[in-house]
Symmetry: C2
Amino acid sequence: MMLDEMVPVVKDLLEQRNFTELKALLKDVPPQDIALMLEELDEQSIPIVFRLLSKETAAETFVEMSTTAQQLLLNAFSDTELKAVFDEMFLDDTVDIIEEMPANVVKRIINQSDPQTRAVINEILKYPKDSAGSIMTIEYVSLKKTWTVKECFDRIRRDAVDKETIYTCYVTDEKRKLLGRITVKTLLLNSYETVIGDIMETNVISVETTADKEFVASQFSKYDLSAIPVVDMEDRIVGIVTVDDALDVMEDEATEDISKMAAVTPSDTPYLEQSIWQIWKNRVPWLLLLMISATFTGLIINYYEATLSSLSTLLFACVPMLMDTGGNAGSQASITIIRGLALDEIRLRDVGKILWKETRVSVLLALVLGITCFAKLQLIDRLLFKYDYTLMLSGVVSLALVATVIIAKVVGCLLPLLARKMKLDPAVVASPFITTIVDALSLIIYCNIALWVLS
Amino acid sequence: MMLDEMVPVVKDLLEQRNFTELKALLKDVPPQDIALMLEELDEQSIPIVFRLLSKETAAETFVEMSTTAQQLLLNAFSDTELKAVFDEMFLDDTVDIIEEMPANVVKRIINQSDPQTRAVINEILKYPKDSAGSIMTIEYVSLKKTWTVKECFDRIRRDAVDKETIYTCYVTDEKRKLLGRITVKTLLLNSYETVIGDIMETNVISVETTADKEFVASQFSKYDLSAIPVVDMEDRIVGIVTVDDALDVMEDEATEDISKMAAVTPSDTPYLEQSIWQIWKNRVPWLLLLMISATFTGLIINYYEATLSSLSTLLFACVPMLMDTGGNAGSQASITIIRGLALDEIRLRDVGKILWKETRVSVLLALVLGITCFAKLQLIDRLLFKYDYTLMLSGVVSLALVATVIIAKVVGCLLPLLARKMKLDPAVVASPFITTIVDALSLIIYCNIALWVLS
């Protein structure tokens, strides 16, 4: 049953207080959909429906819900209910939730968890935000290299229930040092007597606890992993990151880059959950910065104004078109490079190749645009609208356009590389900043060409 | 050993024709890194090194290489070598490669593959590009619901080698109809005698062969799947998509959206592999379109020019700043909405909420910007640079700025929603188009405010 069909049905059953049927209905719905459905109900109904879920489903559903809904439930929960839910959860999810919750709620959660879980939670909370340590789970299967396949399967059977993944197991020595990696597939393909020390993979790709989560995610897509071990400085395994978390990280990173490209400070909270103050806070500094830098184009215009208007006031009319086109040409180049850098398709040492590519492309583009612009001024503005755009005047505008496009492309491809070189995030120098720079440059070019040709 | 360290070492060993050591060196390198390393070698060396790889590694490496390098190798291959590589490959990878290759190469590949593989390849090639069918693999484990756990393990052991994933198996009837899903984890947790019909999950999330691959990927991140079955109209399972393919799709989709937001036609080929003609082709139509629409702002200016310059030529100087700020404010809103739609965080029915949010935010932003702009004109342009920006004049500019920002935000958040409503891709109406529209609007507002206040 589709979500949109489910909501009204659930509401009816709640009306009729027909909980037996409601319970039966929810039995076959994936937790992720239950979570979405709950968001559509009124505050009182959410706990009622939630209490109808099986222990396992309840936990999975809780993880999928929005922070606001989670908080609402946590307040409705008795301590025993709260404990029940969190005992079912995987530790990395618990930590994710704790990070979002206000202090008093966190306190309750921590109090309900048994001492060693509590210890681990505090451990994980210590890792820097966005680090591998902060997104890992400690629930992995670890094996000894002297064990036989049979012994391994016994261990896996014993641990399976509360491990996030059992398909990739890690072989460690008594000091928890990572020795190798073995998959259930390999185990299945070998006889019960085989000692895993002989069949395990020894060159294991791992990440350090402090590694950036974006880097961790990139390892997944590069090496097609289903899990990656997280090790400390002494190469001891402290946890694993699983592919489902990597997927989320990748999505978040793309969102972050896109926000930065639009001159917005990224935020983890979904748009609809952000307060208008948050949104305002994420946007205003950039808009201010860009506005102020843009105002200096005004000074350029004023500087040339007298001379230009003496030549022809029609020149002013073309300024916006020149600037927009320059801006667009620039962001086309910059965003291609930024994305290439993010996906590791482009390295700093390619700067030569890129510059040569962009220059040739920009010339080809500039010519097409210049000619079109010239024709348009002659046919539409001059013939149709009777503005006195002489051949000379149209020539000046088109010439300036050609120069602008070429410069925009060059600036657009160099700036992100420069940012990377300076260890800055290329995404933040994207279109808006390039537009501002290109605006100023194109104006100066335009005015000078005009002076040079017309006077 | 890091890639950058490896390349010179490999080159040396090639120099010395010391293939035994080179072979030993490559033994422990992941295929993905070998692929990257090969790209750094000269054309003659690539086949030499490639031939030193074990059958399995060779296949995995080949899959990871760039189309150009793959073609180079295919031409160097004898038919037997070619067969060896492709026999080791998973079918979905084979198909991906075939889709990129010129006809003559494809012919060779098809000829080398055994009849039933050939049949399957042709089957898959029939599915529309970007559909679930086109990215699926047929190499999954299917079980019968009457089997015991023991029987299942026997089957899995038998098939494991050439299945892409064995951890999620699918239970089907004699007509290949999808009945349920069972994981190796569940199998491990149950006794050998258990009949899987009793323990399998029956509500399986699946996609149709024709489903868009972007949708398929979204299912993975939503339901934390490691594989998803692909079914035909009669709900018969025809293949599966595995999470590693989903990861790639997600990356590609993000890249596509980002390109569209920068007014570039998306391309699957990495930037450095694109010819300047491809790049030109992907950029020129948008630049032209945007330039032409931008030129109409010129007509607006010309229309008001006479009256404006009679009031004060200083007014022209502020036009670029007004437009840039409007454009930036607009794209901040539009890109937030576009991403929200892409991630399914925003639905069409939220339009009311969004509009209300954006209006309030825009007012807050507009005020800050307006005041700052006023101050800047008074302090810098007037006092510092001695341009005659009277209080009245500065007021006009700031007032226009306030109006522009508010309108930009409203247009910026509504346009993507409108696009979605009209079943268009919201990404293509992103910043550049919104900038152009906002430019025109802000100009008209500006000029009218000026006329109204100053005359």
